[in-house]
Point group: C2
Chain length 416, copies 2
């Protein structure tokens, strides 16, 4: 397997709040080509240190990718540092200057004198035209290794790498077929999920299994590589099929769609509408449902009933019920869902009530969340969960659990 | 000025989705000590490459900080790689073993044999006890340089660095006084803000000015360093005072508090309550207000009225008004706010209506957002904004602009 180092250039990337996101995207691209990233660096605008870093990288890596530092100013040192590291001159290229002048004319702007710095190539390099900016990239072959100089702005880098570098790298690298599967999972905690499926994926280095989790939304990526398509598919199935069996209907999406989009599709297919009544989630559930373009096709709206008084005043929940069971009860959740459905005229209604903390006000433990559900027929339902996290972690999970509750109800019966 | 390199260790940090956030936090801490970060690396669990990376870092840097790779397994190579790079042996420490055994006993767990790997120190190193995990850190003095081995889990690393390393580093480094100012700004776009204040801060390298922006919420950090406190304060004032004058009441916080917390404080101080009526923001406004612990002291709840029918059905907005002006109108926003106030009995009410896109349904351009406001006295008010961003960018800014509208109203008059 070939390996690569990525060097991000720029003093701004050495501050406390800047992340080098280019290297994440490049890692994904390189992995797809069967290339492993062995080391990543961030180096400031320091020619000597950058030259030394390039020399160090070239000792072992097959591919060295530099991003940034190709601009027109004195701070942009990638060309000079690479020239120094390789012991090759920088040579002026009239064709690059012509292209740059033409670009500025087209945009009706004057070209500054220092843009000429961008018309120099490392001796023997092949220029990589940049139709989105002034910095041409460079492809350099040196002693069987490849050095790529790419612009820093992500849109320029991505277009140049995908369009020009990937085909050239693919031609150089041993043939690799990559096949992937992607699952999104709701309704269970991250550690429960890992306990369930890690015996399946842990023994395999190929496919590579990556699990990403945030507030009760879990993404599982499988990526298999092989010399042929059947080989890659077989490796993928060896891990993917048992995972699918173990997770069953907890998998809500195989194409990357998020939960609110999946639910929108289910409601739209049934010509059904939805309303909500939110207490502890405070609007997060409605916020997620309406993040989907076109959600007005199936979503009507609802009630934010943060206080007990509002549950009675806006939804007509019986004060005696709240007195007897508290507002964090299945009884209250059912009454909220029923009333939201009746007052909006929706087909379905979801309600959320619970204790997000930091302190419990109803007496039930912090993290207790109750989802209520009312459909067009049958009695309302409710379910109680103990959710993990701080105040806003519990609130975010409450919205996620409510959406997943509705998904299961909609998927369980095509006719109800 | 002293300089540092940070090396994050762990193959999991070389995947397409993992970010080395420890180095961001450490950069902030080091900058506060007057130390500049000159290079950052991420290296996989590869002893040879890590040892070589440490040797390279020690060539020029005064301080080399390694994070991660101190666990008990064979994959954890930081101790061995540092030993190799420095040419110093690893020595067993009975006191570390005793502490580890005691820790496991206290947690009622068995200590695995491989935890013994964590009881070895680089020759001459000083152990840094870890009361949050099993990995002791190490402080190593070598040829006038400092090498720190710190655990990877952020909570362990932060406690160890703040509690043990900062005092020792401060004693070693030349005295530097750091003074900071911090502003949070709402109600204007990021590029407008930068155009306004960049002539003030651009000429200065000290203080360092950092601007962070997200969905209409802008944070401005100023950090000045000097040899004495008056020097640092004077430098800070040279940039901070003109910025404060230019931004005026667009600065809503000087202590880091977010907008929903500031508003909570203003409402609580007045013994006032708040309700909302949300259309295009779909719950995001309520979600933000209720993200503040204790918000039930002043927040009652409100209405999610995504469709025109709901504006009439839940809020009683006159259908003729919606017919005449559409729901994206100041008239509609005022009617929504008035009705939310009346139906909840709150002191104040905010409403949000607009076109978040991707396509306009009312005829007004996408990005148009109207904030409505009703107070205890006087006629309701409304203001129209053209907000930037895609669908969810517009929605997030709509909530931000609504909160800021209320803040200005509350701050404008102490008595109303």
């Amino acid at each position: 397997m070939a390996n690569a180092e990525i060097i991000a250039v720029g003093s701004e990337l050495l501050t406390a709040d800047k992340i080098d996101t280019n290297s994440l995207w490049l890692t994904d691209q390189l992995n797809s080509l069967g290339v492993e990233v062995r080391r990543k660096l961030v180096v400031g605008d320091d020619r000597r240190l950058l030259a030394e870093s390039i020399r160090q990288a070239l000792r072992d890596a097959d591919i060295v990718i530099l991003t940034g530092g190709l601009g027109p100013t004195e701070d942009d040192v990638t060309r000079e540092a690479t020239s120094e590291a390789l012991g090759r001159n920088l040579v002026f290229r009239q064709d690059l200057l012509d292209a740059l002048i033409e670009r500025f004319q087209r945009l009706n702007r004057n070209m500054a004198e220092n843009n000429r710095r961008q018309t120099f190539l490392i001796e023997g390099a092949e220029p990589l035209p940049n139709d989105r900016g002034t910095a041409a990239g460079q492809w350099i072959d040196a002693d069987g290794k490849v050095i790529l100089l790419l612009p820093g702005p992500p849109n320029e880098l991505k277009a140049m790498f995908s369009g020009q570098c990937v085909p050239k790298l693919r031609a150089k690298l041993p043939t690799q077929v990559i096949r992937t599967r992607f699952y999104r999972v709701a309704g269970m905690g991250e550690s429960d999920l890992d306990q369930l499926i890690s015996p399946v994926y842990k023994p395999y280095e190929n496919p590579v299994t990556t699990i990403l989790a945030g507030a009760g939304d879990i993404q599982i990526h499988l990526r298999a590589h092989g010399e042929t398509e059947p080989e890659a598919e077989a490796l993928l199935a060896a891990v993917g099929s048992p995972i699918e069996e173990l997770l069953g209907d907890r998998i809500y999406s195989r194409d990357g769609a998020n939960l609110e989009t999946v639910i929108g599709g289910l409601l739209r297919a049934r010509g059904a509408s939805l309303s909500v009544a939110e207490s502890c989630s405070g609007g997060l559930l409605g916020g997620r449902i309406t993040s989907v373009p076109g959600s007005s096709d199936y979503y009507l709206g609802g009630f934010l009933v943060y206080s007990d008084a509002m549950k009675t005043q806006l939804l007509g929940v019986d004060p005696a019920l709240l007195q007897k069971h508290t507002s964090v009860s299945e009884e209250a959740a059912k009454a909220m869902a029923t009333s939201a459905r009746d007052r909006t005229g929706s087909t379905y209604a979801l309600s959320v009530t619970g204790e997000a903390g930091p302190r419990s006000q109803s007496g039930v433990p912090v993290g207790t969340v109750i989802i209520g559900f009312a459909g067009p027929a049958g009695a309302p339902e409710a379910a109680t969960y103990r959710l993990f996290g701080d105040r806003n972690g519990v609130r975010a999970r409450a919205a996620q659990w409510a959406l997943d509750y509705l998904r299961r109800k909609l998927q369980a019966s095509r006719s109800f």
